[in-house]
Structure formats: C-alpha cells, structure tokens
C-alpha cells in the first residue's frame, strides 16, 4: 500500500505556543520543536512500514511548509516541500494512495481546549462549513482525500483534535499526545513516548485499513465562510461565484470538491489583503 502523510506542527507533543512553531521569524525554540515534529513523522512512517506500507509521500503542511529535517527521514520516501500549493495541506493526494495519516494536527478555529486552534488562517477564518458541517483543517483535507478515494487512517494531536476527527470519521485511529489546557498550554507526553505511541498507532491503523472509508461531501457542495472582519468578507465576495450572505460571511456552491477546496484557499489568501 502507498501511504499519504500530511504533517502539521501544532499537534506535536509539547507544543503549546506559536513561538515553537513559527518558522517565519524563528525563535530558538522552533529549532527544537521542528526536530520533535520530524521525529513524530518518522515514527508514523516506521509504524506504517511495519504493517506493510511500501511507498510513502510526506506533505510538509505547516507554515511555510519547509520544516522537516530531510536528512532524518527514511531515505526512500518522497517529500512535498514548500509553500503556496493549490491544494495546500493535501497537495498531490490523487496519486493512488491506499490511505492517509494526519500527523501533528490541531483543532479548528474557535475550539476550546485545542492548542493553537485555527483553520488555515487565524486572522481571516472565523468558521468554515461545508454542506452545513463545521470543518477543521482535518475535515476539509479529509474531504479532498475522500474525493480521490483515499481514506484517512490515523490522526495525531491533542485530545480535542483527535476526538473531533473521530466524531466525523469513526474509522480513524487516534493518537492523543497531549491534553490541551486552553489555547496556550498542554499536559503532554514527552517526545519519546509520543513517538512510540504514534509508531504503534500507525501500525495498527494500517492493519485496520480495510474498515476505513473515504470521507466525501455530496454535491452540490456549499462552502460557507465566516470571516473575522467585515472588510475581509467584502473582498472575498468579489471572487467569481461568491455570494455575500452576511456582514462577515460569504458562500460558494459548486459540484466539484476540488474547485470548492481551491476557492476556500482563495478566500484566505485574498482575505489576508483586507
């Protein structure tokens, strides 16, 4: 089986502050946590390999998307590195994968007790719903994987995030590496224990892959975005096909989920200009 891994950083064991995950204005702590992050990814790969996975594609999906310490990864995986990918955290998910992992994921915008919770762009996205379902990044990304027939098998992160994903996709195995205390503190496993738990979870997830299902949204697909400010909705409403549904809300409907996904990416890219 070929495996797709989308890896984020806020859900890594020990992470509780933006400084630890901010690659753009690197704080000394970033260098430490990027190492923990890399090791959680390699643990997931090790576990998957123990259950028979052969090909692995890792999509570095955090911040500028060039955080992984490449020389720490098994030499025979492939890596998607770098920023501004049209399908962002789930770029190139259409390559015939038998399953996917979300490693180091975090809660959606507005979730209590989810460290550093946000949905793509905290300064723009207040809430996003697809066909009425409130979406975290995991939900949105699983929808694109599902469109390509790829089921999500594993999610790792804090308890709120993991339980949120499992509520929407009960077949997904969860590895809880920390309990969030509000948005900026966590009671966490130490990195070695988290890495062991992720390795074991990954192995079990691949073994149980037969029970997993692609997560799909049925067309017509309606995207509702609530923005943080009215000025952002004002700009986003100028995207072709978008409708202003309120002072701080816009809507877009289309039959194709990839079109909707890219339109969502456009909302926060344009909204950031307001």
């Amino acid at each position: 089986m070929n495996l797709y891994i989308s890896s984020d950083m806020e859900g890594v064991a020990g992470v509780c502050a933006w400084e630890q995950v901010d690659a753009r204005t690197p704080h000394p702590e970033y260098a430490t946590f990027r190492r923990y992050y890399t090791h959680e990814v390699t643990s997931a790969i090790d576990g998957a390999r123990a259950a028979g996975v052969t090909g692995v594609l890792v999509n570095d999906s955090h911040g500028p998307m060039r955080n992984l310490l490449l020389d720490q990864l098994p030499p025979d995986v492939r890596v998607i590195f770098g920023n501004r990918k049209p399908f962002s955290m789930v770029q190139d998910a259409d390559g015939g994968f038998g399953g996917a992992f979300f490693v180091g994921y975090h809660g959606g915008a507005g979730e209590a007790d989810a460290v550093l919770c946000h949905t793509y762009t905290p300064t723009v996205i207040y809430e996003v719903r697809i066909n009425g379902v409130t979406c975290s990044e995991a939900t949105l990304n699983a929808g694109l994987l599902g469109y390509h027939g790829v089921p999500l098998l594993l999610v790792t992160g804090d308890r709120t995030t993991v339980e949120g994903v499992r509520a929407q996709m009960p077949w997904v195995r969860g590895v809880v590496v920390k309990e969030s205390i509000g948005n900026f503190a966590a009671a966490s496993m130490l990195p070695p224990e988290a890495q062991r738990a992720i390795r074991d979870g990954a192995e079990a997830a691949v073994r149980d892959a037969g029970q997993a299902k692609p997560y799909r949204f049925d067309p017509p697909i309606t995207l509702d975005v609530q923005t943080v400010t009215a000025a952002q909705a004002h700009l986003i409403a100028t995207i072709p096909g978008f409708e202003r549904t309120g002072h701080r809300s816009v809507r877009f409907t289309h039959d194709s989920y990839p079109v909707v996904f890219k339109a969502f990416v456009a909302t926060w890219r344009l909204g950031a200009m307001a």
């Binding site: 100028t238 072709p240 890219k262």
Partner: protein, 269 residues
C-alpha cells in the same frame, strides 16, 4: 492621478510620500474641479466623483466646488474599484488623470496592479480606460471625456471616437514628461469638459461583444498561481490565465479580484 499634468514619478502619487504627494494631490484635485466646472457650464447638474487612485482618498474635499448635487466616493477597497458609483445612473462619464496601460512606453504605465503584465478582452489589449469604459458601456453610459498623457488619450479616442480627449502632457519614457503647467492643464480640461457634455447625445456606450473572454498575463508565475485558485479561472500558461462570461460586470469583477489576489503573492512567504 498618474495622468495629471506634471506627474512623472511614483513619489508624486504615493500617499505615504510627505514631500511631493501633497503638491500633486492638489493638482489632481484642481483638474477634477476644472472638469466639473466645465461640465456645469454646459448644463450638467448632478455629479459623482469616484476617487480612483491608490488609497482612493486623495482628493482635497474642501477644494472641490461647493455645489449641490456633487457626491464624492472616497476610500478602498470598493467592489467596483475605479468604477464604483455607476448605480447613480449617470448620463455620461469623464475619466480624468488617466494613464497608459501596462507595457506602453508612457508615464507610469500600468493596468490596475504592477502584477499585471497585460490584459485583453476578446483579444483587444486593454488599458484601465478601456476596461472601465466597457463597464460603463454595459450600463449604457458613454465616456465623453478623457484626460491624461498623449498615449492613453489617443488610444482611447481611437477606440471611442466620440470621446473628447485632453492631452496634458507627452511622455518621455516611463518617468519623465513634457507637460502643460497645472494652470494651463486645468484651462484645457475645463474647455474639454464643456465640449464633452455637449457631445453626450451623439456619444455611444463602448461595449465588447458577448461572450467575453478575459486573458491576463501576469508579471510572475506566482501571481498566476494565486489567480488560478479562483473559480472560473483557467490556467493557460506559466504566466497566463483566462476567464469567460456572458456578463461583462462579472468579468470586470473577476479581473479586479485577480489583481487583488495577485498582490497577495508579492510578499515573500
């Protein structure tokens, strides 16, 4: 503002400039005032002035004529950008202080954004004047006056022969001009505006034929990367995208959105 007499540098048009901008925003205001006065002398009564440059709050409001029936649109961003306010159903439109399109050998030439290398509708290369005229045209509103440098005025009056053109300067490349003085430019604009209002009955709305095809070439690949995210845009090259519609306002809005999302690609991530 770039087509105002004397303007030859971004500094004169940049609201953050503390030295030259305050002078040239006054010249811009005086040219707008001259256009209004000329139009009133020919019987125009109501006016909407849409400040359409940069931050779109350049006009010195207390230097505009204190006339009843004059409204000013200030600020940005506006959904219709340089063409906000057509819902007032005017009988005709003036374009003052306009500049040449991206790529022209003319003063501060550009088209909406410095990320745009070129833009065409139905294969016709477009300046801001032509894009905007076609929006006015789709509401039945003719453009009867254009002022600016020789390049934009001559190109626009070729496309719209009913439009009065007032050339206030000749470009010497991108950042130098051979210009009328502000006083002489205002006199010429006032006379042009007077004549333009007299031509309204013979003027025609400028329109492209439906279906409309917008093609944009961007300066860099990353600009097209972002524009392509938006529904309805098709990537036709490394630095090229296309959008089609049977509704011109939809097309122009898509273009405006494209210029804005392209700008988001400019900061290094």
């Amino acid at each position: 503002m770039e087509g105002t007499a004397g303007v030859c540098s971004w500094k004169q048009c940049d609201p953050s400039d503390a030295h030259e901008y305050p002078i040239f925003r006054r010249y811009m205001t005086l040219e707008v005032r001259a256009a209004i006065e000329g139009a009133r002398e020919s019987g125009a009564t109501g006016f909407v002035v849409n400040d359409s440059h940069w931050s779109m709050r350049n006009l010195l409001l207390d230097a505009l004529p204190a006339a009843a029936g004059l409204r000013v649109i200030s600020g940005a961003p506006k959904p219709w950008s340089m063409m906000q306010g057509l819902d007032a159903a005017p009988d005709a439109a003036f374009f003052t202080g306009y500049h040449a399109k991206a790529g022209d050998c003319a003063t501060l030439s550009h088209t909406y954004s410095e990320s745009i290398y070129s833009v065409a509708v139905n294969g016709t290369p477009c300046s801001e004047a032509l894009l905007n005229a076609a929006l006015a045209g789709s509401y039945g509103v003719p453009v009867v006056l254009i002022t600016g440098d020789r390049t934009i005025v001559e190109e626009s009056t070729r496309a719209m022969p009913w439009t009065v053109g007032v050339v206030v300067k000749d470009a010497i490349g991108f950042s130098a001009v051979n210009s009328l003085t502000p006083h002489a430019a205002c006199e010429a604009i006032r006379a042009g505006a007077r004549e333009a209002v007299g031509r309204v009955a013979r003027a025609k709305p400028f329109v492209f034929d439906s279906p409309f095809e917008l093609t944009i070439e961007t300066v860099a690949v990353e600009h097209a990367d972002f524009i392509e995210l938006m529904p309805g845009f098709e990537r036709i090259g490394g630095r090229a995208v296309r959008f089609t519609s049977t509704d011109y306002p939809t097309l122009l809005r898509a273009f405006i959105a494209a210029t804005r999302i392209a700008a988001a690609a400019n900061p290094i991530a």
